[in-house]
């Protein structure tokens, strides 16, 4: 007894140590360990952090400590140029929401005391923001800034078709009346080699010394010369050519901080070998632009005409040092990947989790966001590469019986109405940060019931005929009394020439169904959709009335049901006589939720609405359909139905959801999602769902609870990998933050009771896996040993000896004696589980395991036993 006990104690101690080691391994001691900042709202992603930094223009240029001044504010350029700037920006204060521990993420850059931007001409009075490298504590050189990425061809346009200033070059003085910088060129290396009348601030990619003077290949001719496009271009750059200041002197942009992975030419966060291997810091540079060029000539209503990198402009910059996390871990590529599929709602979460899941020998997963209908097809498929896990917000329906499934909650998130709206105040603008919408307003906007949402209905100059059914004509949603009551500050809109309908996806999905469910949660809205006029006499478009969108069950798509096809008869050449544009042309669909948000961010959610006689048809003939340019600053009105994680990712504000009479407005936030989850009810399959009609007090009605639907008759390796994913979903994956492996903004950390369910499901899967490799698990137990030998660790932790691990009905009890080779161990040793070098690591681990686990015991006890054996052998001889 005693000796057995002593062995057991010793082994138990060893096991405990190993468990600790395993636990450590799971939380990834290699990765950065930083608590998420509490002040950031986990749903919107907005808010400040402990490392937020505020700088004042009048104080001068700060050093890399973001506190002391490297260069006091002083004159550059002509006197009038500096005085103009000082008058406009002496009170400018810029706050950057996070400056430490950065990775590839968005940070909020907000300011007060700016000069209101004149949005009629955009002739100055805005900020230009960029990211630069530079190791000197006094700041970066202009040669180290990612600027000019839009090149010549894709330069954004301002009002009146003026190209916005996004270049690294400008005119040498005298500037022939169009502005110039008397301080340029600062040296021969600022001469533009291809135009003697210009200076050019070359880009020097980090650690190269190479000076690049070409925007892109089209102007060069010699294709072997590197261009800016070699390092960054319009798709990849994070520069902000125009950050407009509202009438009240404030402004805000979400700036995409890039690491060396996204911006190779900057190398931010890369290991700085000269700096002792620490991650390389970088800078956020803000150049305020006034009304005058550095030579004091007027900008002349043509946008700013000198580069922010020119010496006089550069001298007036603000800068904030950015401190990066080490480049995060990545996954091994040459392994089998465990495919998982499902709703786009979890896409950003999976992108964050994937590089963490594969650490410490974990599986590599691939996530493909698929149409909801594909879930059933894939889960039932035996084709190679089919997914055994699908993320869903509702039970998977199979045409026939379907495979056995278990469900585990993995994410709580919300469907959001992301928007980019600003209003005009004279020639200035105010960016709107808060709007509210109710079911009736959204129903109206989704049914082409406003005149401006019918093809061509917003503008003149085409053959649009106002339909008979339109009794009370409202041009746009902004003209609706319901809108005015909720959003008095967005009561008028100038130049509404295109649709103001929200951008939606084209698919059939549970996400869309949830939105219609919310719309149907109000009896008044239901009857409006059924044909009852609102208080002002406005009725639903009869083409939508026919679809009975007010009757349950809620629809799962957003139709463009109005058959109007509008002709354009003007223009030379005019469009072909029988050509016209339809509702789908005019209110186009987005490819997916992310695509919808990207369109909102660009202020462009509308489609074809005109004809451009100067356009070129695909066949190369004159005249083609025109998409109006993105709505100009001060006139932007774009919104889309998307996911909270997507709106947070793109730094877009989201609408509060109100009842149609304006009561009970709820913003998507940690508190409102928590309240909704608490009020969620289980459906027939046991999946919790938030009823938009009863989301609980202060609950966000479009809160979504995403489940992993797991097929249980998979091979053991697949089940174990799935269990590992669920364990992560119930544990480390629920820490809010922007780092790899964390729960990105837009998701509410799972409440404890949901996590417990997920952990239990993981355990069930491991038990099924341990029960044997048979894909159709037998409910009878006893054919093999227990789940002790699980290769993923954690699962096999014994709970004190002989008491059996609680088993689900379908799983094999795992407390039996080991009377034959443990199935789990055998399964874990097949080449299916690990390929390449990992196999041999496994061998090494087996050897090490044998030595490590038995060694202590054997060292104590075996030598005498061996002696005895030897003695006995000798005696026998």
């Amino acid at each position: 007894m005693t000796r057995r006990g002593s062995i057991r104690r010793r082994v138990a101690a060893g096991v405990a140590a190993l468990v600790a080691a395993t636990a450590l391994a799971v939380v990834d001691p290699l990765g950065p360990d930083r608590q998420a900042e509490a002040a950031i709202d986990p749903i919107s992603g907005f808010g400040g952090t402990d490392s937020a930094v505020t700088v004042k223009w009048s104080d001068g240029i700060t050093r890399s400590d973001n506190q002391t001044i490297a260069t006091p504010r002083q004159k550059s350029g002509a006197d009038a140029f500096y005085e103009d700037l000082r008058a406009r920006y002496k009170d400018l204060t810029v706050t950057v929401s996070q400056t430490e521990g950065l990775t590839h993420q968005g940070v909020q850059v907000a300011w007060t005391g700016g000069a209101p931007t004149d949005v009629s001409f955009l002739s100055g009075n805005y900020l230009q923001i960029m990211q630069c490298y530079g190791d000197a504590p006094t700041g970066p050189d202009p040669e180290g800034c990612q600027w000019g990425g839009f090149g010549v061809s894709s330069l954004p346009e301002g009002p009146g078709g003026n190209k916005l200033q996004d270049e690294r070059r400008g005119t040498k003085c005298p500037g022939f009346g169009n502005g110039c910088d008397p301080a340029e060129p600062t040296g021969p290396d600022h001469d533009n080699p291809s135009d003697a009348s210009q200076y050019y601030v070359p880009f020097i990619p980090v650690d190269t010394g190479e000076k690049i003077y070409l925007d892109d290949i089209s102007e060069g001719g010699d294709p072997t010369k590197p261009t800016l496009g070699t390092y960054f271009q319009s798709q990849s750059t994070n520069e902000v050519p125009v950050a407009a200041t509202s009438t009240d002197g404030t402004g805000q942009v979400s700036f995409e901080v890039q690491t060396g992975r996204e911006a190779t030419g900057l190398g931010c966060g890369d290991r700085d070998t000269e700096g002792g291997g620490a991650p390389r810091g970088c800078w956020l540079v803000i150049v305020p632009r006034g009304q005058l060029s550095p030579d004091a000539s007027s900008q002349n209503r043509q946008g700013v005409s000198e580069s922010p990198l020119s010496a006089s402009n550069w001298a007036q910059r603000l800068q904030v040092h950015l401190d990066f996390l080490p480049t995060s871990n990545i996954c091994p590529q040459d392994t089998v990947q465990r495919p998982v599929i499902g709703t786009e709602l979890v896409a950003n979460m999976m992108t964050s989790w994937q590089p963490a899941l594969c650490q410490n020998g974990g599986a590599v997963y691939s996530f493909t966001h698929t149409a909801d209908a594909t879930n059933a097809v894939q889960l039932a498929s035996n084709l190679p590469g089919s997914a055994g896990l699908a993320f869903t917000t509702k039970p998977i329906a199979f045409a026939d019986q379907g495979p056995p499934l278990v469900y585990a909650p993995v994410a709580v998130t919300g469907i959001t109405f992301a928007f980019r709206i600003d209003v005009r105040k004279g020639s200035e603008t105010q960016q709107v940060q808060r709007i509210g919408v109710g079911p009736e307003l959204v129903a109206k906007a989704l049914t082409q019931s406003y005149r401006g949402d019918l093809p061509g209905g917003a503008s003149s100059g085409n053959d649009f005929v106002q339909p008979e059914w339109m009794k009370a004509v409202r041009l746009t949603i902004v003209d609706d009394p319901r809108w005015k009551a909720l959003n008095p500050e967005v009561a008028t809109l100038s130049n509404a020439v295109i649709t103001l309908a929200p951008m939606t996806t084209a698919d059939q999905s549970a996400v869309n169904q949830a939105v219609w469910g919310w719309i149907q949660s109000e009896p008044g809205t239901r009857s409006w959709l059924g044909g009852t006029a609102d208080a002002g006499g406005m009725v639903v478009n009869p083409n939508y009335q026919a679809l009975k969108l007010g009757d349950p069950p809620p629809g799962s798509s957003y139709p463009r049901a109005d058959p109007t096809c509008t002709h354009i008869t003007s223009g030379n050449p005019a469009p072909p006589a029988d050509a016209c544009f339809t509702s789908v042309d005019y209110v186009p669909y987005a490819l997916n939720l992310e695509d919808a948000a990207v369109h909102v961010q660009r202020g462009n959610t509308h489609g074809t609405a005109g004809w451009d006689p100067n356009g070129l048809s695909p066949e190369g003939n004159a005249g083609w359909w025109a998409k109006p340019a993105p709505r100009a600053l001060g006139q932007r009105f774009s919104w889309a139905i998307t996911a909270a994680s997507v709106s947070a990712r793109y730094g877009l504000p989201t609408a509060n959801l109100c009842s149609s009479d304006g009561a009970g407005c709820v913003a998507p936030s940690a508190a409102s999602l928590t309240a909704a989850v608490a009020a969620a009810k289980a459906d027939s399959a046991g999946l919790l769902r938030v009823d938009p009609a009863a989301p609980g007090a202060g609950g966000y009605p479009l809160t979504q609870i995403v489940y992993a639907a797991v097929r249980t008759n998979q091979d053991p390796a697949a089940l174990r990998d799935t269990a590992a994913l669920l364990d992560y979903a119930a544990g480390a994956g629920q820490t809010s933050g922007v780092e790899v492996g964390q729960l990105p903004p837009g998701y509410l950390p799972l409440p404890a009771d949901l996590r417990a369910k997920t952990r239990a499901t993981a355990q069930t899967l491991r038990e099924i896996a341990a029960a044997g490799p048979s894909p159709s698990p037998s409910p009878s137990g006893g054919q093999t040993g227990g789940g002790d030998s699980d290769a993923n660790g954690g699962a096999g932790v014994p709970n004190g000896g002989a008491s059996p691990v609680p088993a689900s009905p379908s799983a094999v009890p795992s407390g039996g004696t080991v009377s034959q080779p443990p199935a789990g161990l055998a399964a874990g040793s097949t080449p299916d589980d690990a390929l390449g070098i990992i196999r041999w690591v496994l061998v090494a681990a087996l050897v090490a395991g044998a030595g490590g686990s038995l060694g202590g015991v054997l060292l104590r006890h075996l030598p005498p036993a061996l002696n005895r054996l030897l003695r006995r052998t000798r005696r026998a001889n």
């Binding site: 000796r3 062995i7 060893g14 190993l18 395993t22 290699l30 892109d216 290949i217 089209s218 496009g229 070699t230 990849s236 992975r261 911006a263 190779t264 871990n329 990545i330 996954c331 089998v336 992108t351 994937q354 020998g361 691939s366 493909t368 209908a373 594909t374 097809v377 035996n382 590469g385 089919s386 045409a399 059939q508 679809l547 798509s557 139709p559 789908v584 669909y589 490819l591 695909p618 002790d788 699980d790 290769a791 660790g793 014994p798 080991v818 080779p821 097949t830 299916d832 990992i838 196999r839 690591v841 061998v843 090494a844 681990a845 044998a850 038995l854 015991v857 054997l858 075996l862 036993a865």
Partner: protein
């Protein structure tokens, strides 16, 4: 009872300990790979491929790759690559197809390039047709009928030609206009469709082309519109699918990549093949069809090398063929002309490899078909030409694509079931739906006493085969034999299909066959040794301990004596 369980306990503890050591050891020893010198790469092009490309881009982020892509259409992708504003492009067709006034010259000098096959799939005809309030989901059409619809030759849904293709719907096809929906901008889908028309429906196409005043009348990526024939043009696959899906679009039919129909929840036309069956482009059917794709192997001419010749796909007599199957390309840079660098080349080659290997396993869920192994290998040859490519990594051995079987054939094609009898040209018609409307049946009147309701029958659920390899063994497994088809002889056995072995799970093939065997032996031996140690160790130890204590007790008499 209790005594029998007691000795087991320490052993179980030890087993646990060993396993934990094993797991932990593996965790500590398998270090994450050092960060590679990946840099951001930018691409643009095909909307046909976009759903797949977007999925790959998202998944390679975990390997440290940043890949940007703008789905602006194949023509724009080729233009951008030609002008050097993107590093790579995706296009459904090669350079050089002339559309009206546009010359699409390959940038052979400024941006030398190579074509790599990247996504395979079917160009489908998504339609919106109702009989009364009942959505039709099982429509079937012959190639000639399709060609006549898209040239304005057939204008009504109750046309005799459509009735003939659909005996089960014959009496009920509505007298409403057909609205053919085509792509408005230059697109690869249009090029695929018109290439097929040129190849198989030449007289119909030539007449239409002439009416559209196109000369020469060839394959085109911009669909010619003849005024007055009721065509509607829409931008992008999304625009075409979006138009067709509208409730007011009853009667519309447009061509889109299969995945767009699935997302929209709409059916697609089952198209008649030369084997006499009406099929839809499932992953398996596309794989079967593409076995007949001929690939231009003239390595000396980069303008045509690896471009596709689908003429034998169109006429393939395998009953599982979907005639409008094809594949799309990635256009890869093979020089260091700006904006390329070797670092970009390394990233692009690894991204391309991911797309060809693991990436192909995801595409079935999106409505594409995994590329056959011969195209993957040909694609590898192209990837190796990218300056900066880590050539040693680009091998099938590390591909980890479970659709490649051990003998180098395409598992999808091998296991693809034959279409059910009711899909055969003849008096009966299946009731089952297609694409995004799979679960919606359409009632059929198969008048001549045939099995009303059709359906693929019960024969396609597959037998409880025990063959674990995923390749049906014709010798020992009669069920598999019945369902499997020989791609060369088109012999698909008897009626009824086989959706494959339910025991088959993705089993990637390792070319290191010897290693696998050796490895297994090593592991078995090790595991055996461990088990032996676990089994024999504790009793031995216990015995040894008892002996030692006894010996001690001989020297020093213990109170109570030995236990």
């Amino acid at each position: 009872m209790t005594t029998t369980s007691r000795p087991g306990r320490p052993r179980r503890w030890l087993a646990v300990a060993c396993t934990l050591v094993l797991a932990t050891g593996a965790g500590v020893l398998v270090r994450p790979p050092a960060a590679l010198a990946y840099v951001t790469i930018n691409g643009a092009g095909s909307t046909w491929s976009q759903n797949a490309v977007d999925s790959w881009r998202r998944n390679v982020a975990q390997f440290g790759m940043t890949v940007n892509y703008a789905g602006t259409g194949s023509s724009d992708g080729r233009n951008q690559f030609r002008s050097g504003t993107v590093d790579w492009a995706a296009s459904d067709i090669p350079y050089g197809i002339k559309d009206g006034n546009n010359l699409d010259l390959p940038p052979t000098q400024a941006h030398p390039f190579a074509y790599m096959p990247v996504t395979a799939g079917g160009t489908t005809f998504m339609y919106n047709l109702k009989i009364g309030n009942q959505r039709v989901t099982n429509l079937r059409l012959s190639g000639t009928t399709i060609a006549r619809i898209f040239t304005g030759g057939i204008t009504m849904w109750n046309d005799a030609a459509i009735k003939e293709d659909n005996p089960g719907l014959r009496s009920r096809l509505p007298a409403i206009r057909i609205v053919p929906v085509v792509r408005s901008e230059g697109s690869g889908s249009t090029a695929q469709l018109t290439q097929w028309m040129v190849g198989t429906q030449r007289s119909i196409w030539n007449a239409y082309c002439a009416a559209a005043r196109r000369n020469p009348c060839t394959q085109t990526s911009v669909y010619p519109i003849v005024p007055g024939r009721g065509m509607v043009a829409q931008a992008g696959d999304l625009g075409v699918a979006g138009y067709v899906a509208q409730p007011q679009a009853n009667g519309a039919i447009g061509y889109v990549q299969y995945s767009y129909a699935i997302q929209a929840g709409f059916p697609v036309v089952k198209m008649l093949n030369n084997g006499g069956y009406y099929t839809e482009p499932t992953a398996g059917h596309v794989a079967v069809s593409l076995l007949k794709a001929r690939i231009n192997q003239n390595k000396n001419d980069p303008n045509v090398y690896l471009t596709q010749d689908l003429s034998q796909v169109y006429t393939n007599t395998d009953p599982r063929t979907y005639p409008l199957s094809g594949y799309s390309y990635m256009i890869l840079p093979v020089s260091l002309n700006a904006p390329m660098t070797t670092a970009k080349g390394e990233t692009l080659a690894d991204f391309g490899k991911y797309a060809l290997c693991q990436g192909q396993t995801q595409v079935n869920a999106l409505g594409y078909s995994a590329l056959p192994i011969n195209l993957v290998q040909a694609g590898f040859d192209q990837l190796r030409k990218i300056p900066g490519a880590k050539v040693g990594n680009i091998v099938i051995r590390s591909c980890n694509n479970p659709t490649f079987s051990t003998d180098g054939t395409n598992t999808l094609a091998k296991t693809d079931p034959k279409p059910p009898d009711c899909d055969k040209k003849g008096p009966t018609q299946c009731a089952t739906g297609t694409a995004g409307a799979k679960n919606q049946e359409t009632p059929v009147n198969n008048g001549t006493g045939g099995p009303g309701g059709g359906g693929p029958g019960g024969g396609n659920t597959g037998g409880p085969s025990t063959n674990p390899s995923g390749t049906p063994d014709p010798g020992s497994n009669p069920i598999a034999q019945q369902g499997a088809c020989d791609p060369d002889t088109q012999d698909c056995g008897q009626a009824g299909g086989n959706t494959g072995d339910p025991n088959v799970f993705g089993q990637p093939v390792s070319a290191e066959a010897g290693l696998g065997g050796g490895f297994r032996i090593v592991l078995m031996v090790l595991a055996g040794v461990l088990l032996l140690a676990l089994g024999l160790g504790p009793p031995l130890i216990a015995q040894a301990g008892a002996r030692r204590r006894q010996r001690r007790s001989d020297d020093f008499t213990m109170p109570g004596g030995p236990a």
